[in-house]
């Protein structure tokens, strides 16, 4: 399989990456070279093989339902690019104007 330029742009949008035209071209050639190697996996007969998500069996882990201290608000906000009144500050995401 190989990616077209428009597919590269689509994937970049999904990944929330703003690539320049030069980056798109380079990415297309890099990804196609890597995918060319990855496609050798098609040589394997995988029809009846179950998938593995974790190599070691994982089990649900529970603990007594009691309150324990978590990360403090101060610690959670210490790296915030912008914060106000104990909350993260972001650009407005709802429409402007005077709706309620």
């Amino acid at each position: 399989m190989s990616l077209s330029e428009s597919e590269v742009r689509h994937v970049a949008m999904l990944a929330r990456l703003a690539l320049t035209d030069e980056e798109v071209a380079l990415m297309q050639s890099d990804l196609n070279s890597i995918l060319g190697h990855i496609d050798t996996i098609a040589q394997l007969d995988l029809e009846s093989v179950p998938p593995t998500a974790h190599a070691i069996p994982v089990v649900n882990v529970t603990r007594p339902d009691v309150v324990v201290p978590g990360l403090s608000r101060e610690a959670a906000l210490m790296n915030a690019p912008a914060a106000e009144d104990g909350a993260f500050l972001i650009p407005q995401i709802t429409g402007g104007g005077d709706e309620a």
Partner: protein
């Protein structure tokens, strides 16, 4: 100041000397810090050096010694941590621009446990950006250098963790290994480098790359030190649901009882015969096998045919998990944020594009593609099935053998800039990747020194692979060979 030089000492020797009153933990810390000051301008193993933390920890040890208290197992041992592990009072940058100013809000469990065990924290080590790389060259702060030859890469992604030990600055360090990122730089710098079994060590507080593959482990100068560090950091942690406690968490004993008589050891024949492995590296594996046989081990051969496809499976699964894990780097709660965003989408897109380097972008793109609608079954689904086959081949091999042998890296340390296309870089991890996919443990130990084309002596690493939670066997076999080879693995920076 005293001229104490600990650059060739083991952790055990330092601990014992401090307990014995030969020198103080303060002096040990001071010695390591002054060595960093002298050398790290050239080596660049560290992103951040933490003299205050080191001396404070050392003074605590000295106070305990003065009070006649029993000292912890790694008392006063100078240690360093990969810069993807949180430690309060340090930045955790992952050698990236996007986290360049990120202050650790809490401690990584493995780091906290090692400090609890008495080490003095020297600082945070350079790495490939977000652990994406095999040479250290993707670091936003510039690459760490190989102490054997400053014109060569130390391997990666735990480049600085390896270089700090090889250069004699740290005595032990922690790295993380997703596809070889501890073992491969261990091989390229002549250090002992362990990737424990998945689940053996908590991953809490280590910035996630691929959560089903990542594992934290130590670099050290001796196999015994590796065991000592693993004892300190292993075991269940409530903050990582995949971590486990076992009843076999005493590993140092295995390194002392280094008797391999009757141990079943196999060369992985088809992987050894793969294209791309250099003759010296291949020969060193065969020589190691011969030594094991001479020491009384039962040596055989196995094939792991699906492991040859490990690279393909890994470059789907790793990036897929990474693209998901790195989605949290969005400029909202932490990390780089563009100042003039017009709306939230613009903020996400430009903050991420400015904050991630080219390799991080490649992995995110690859993973996003592999998980995107219409391609999931063709890529991610197939890779997960291949993973099943790889793991079952390992299981079958471990029914017959205790330890498997491969090279750690197909070649010794190469020069900066030599591997310019991504795929050739990826191929340098062919021997280490299948171990992560199968969740097994693996250790790289120095097994020889070879001359590069320009005559530079460079270390060769041997990988020993063990079944799930079979670290004790690995340590026993590794210590036996270490003793038998009796190599002088001091890098030129340590020999002086």
């Amino acid at each position: 100041m005293s001229d104490l030089n600990l650059s060739a000492w083991s952790a055990l020797q330092i601990r014992d000397a401090i307990a014995n009153g030969d020198f103080s933990a303060h002096e040990a810390a001071q010695s390591a810090l002054s060595r960093i000051e002298t050398l790290d301008g050239d080596v660049h193993a560290f992103n951040q050096v933490t003299p205050e933390l080191a001396l404070a920890a050392a003074d605590k040890i000295d106070a305990r010694a003065a009070a006649g208290e029993a000292l912890p197992p790694l008392a006063g041992v100078p240690a360093a941590f990969k810069d993807n592990m949180n430690l309060i009072g340090t930045r955790t940058t992952c050698s990236s621009r996007i986290l360049a100013n990120y202050e650790s809000p809490y401690d990584c469990t493995a780091v906290a446990r090692l400090i609890e065990a008495g080490v003095v924290p020297l600082g945070k080590c350079n790495m490939d950006q977000f652990a994406f790389g095999s040479s250290g060259e993707t670091s936003y702060t510039g690459p760490a250098k190989n102490p054997w030859d400053l014109g060569r890469v130390p391997g990666g992604s735990s480049s600085g963790s390896a270089a700090s030990v090889s250069a004699g600055m740290a005595t032990v360090s922690l790295g993380s290994d997703t596809g070889g990122s501890i073992r491969q730089p261990g091989a390229l710098t002549g250090t002992v480098a362990l990737k424990p079994t998945y689940g053996r060590v908590s991953r809490y507080g280590c910035v996630a790359f691929a959560s089903s593959l990542d594992q934290i482990g130590p670099f050290s100068r001796t196999v015994e030190d590796s065991a000592l560090v693993l004892e300190a950091i292993c075991g269940k942690d409530l903050m990582d649901a995949t971590s486990v406690s076992r009843d076999d968490e005493q590993f140092v004993g295995a390194t002392r009882d280094a008797d391999v008589k009757g141990m079943r050891i196999a060369i992985v024949r088809d992987l050894l015969d793969m294209e791309g492995v250099t003759p010296e590296v291949k020969q060193s594996v065969l020589d190691a096998a011969a030594r094991y046989e001479a020491m009384g081990a039962i040596v055989g051969e196995v094939d792991l045919p699906t492991s040859q496809h490990g690279l393909s499976a890994y470059y789907i699964i790793g990036p897929a998990e990474a693209s998901s894990n790195l989605a949290r780097m969005d400029g909202i709660r932490y990390g780089h944020r563009v100042a003039d965003a017009t709306d939230v989408l613009d903020l996400y897109m430009r903050s991420r594009s400015e904050g991630f380097g080219p390799e991080a972008k490649r992995r995110i793109m690859l993973g996003t593609y592999a998980l995107s609608a219409g391609y999931y079954d063709a890529y991610y689904g197939k890779a997960q099935k291949a993973r099943t086959l790889i793991a079952s081949e390992f299981s079958a091999a471990f029914a017959d053998y205790d330890v498997l042998l491969t090279p750690t890296s197909p070649q010794v340390a190469w020069k900066f800039g030599e591997k310019s296309d991504p795929l050739s870089m990826y191929l340098s991890d062919i021997y280490t990747i299948p171990v992560n996919l199968a969740g097994n443990c693996g250790i790289s130990i120095p097994c020889g020194i070879t001359a590069a084309e320009d005559g530079t002596p460079l270390p060769i690493g041997l990988q020993l692979i063990g079944d799930h939670f079979a670290e004790a066997k690995l340590f026993r076999a590794a210590a036996a060979l270490e003793r038998d080879l009796d190599l002088d693995m001091r890098s030129p920076l340590v020999r002086g």
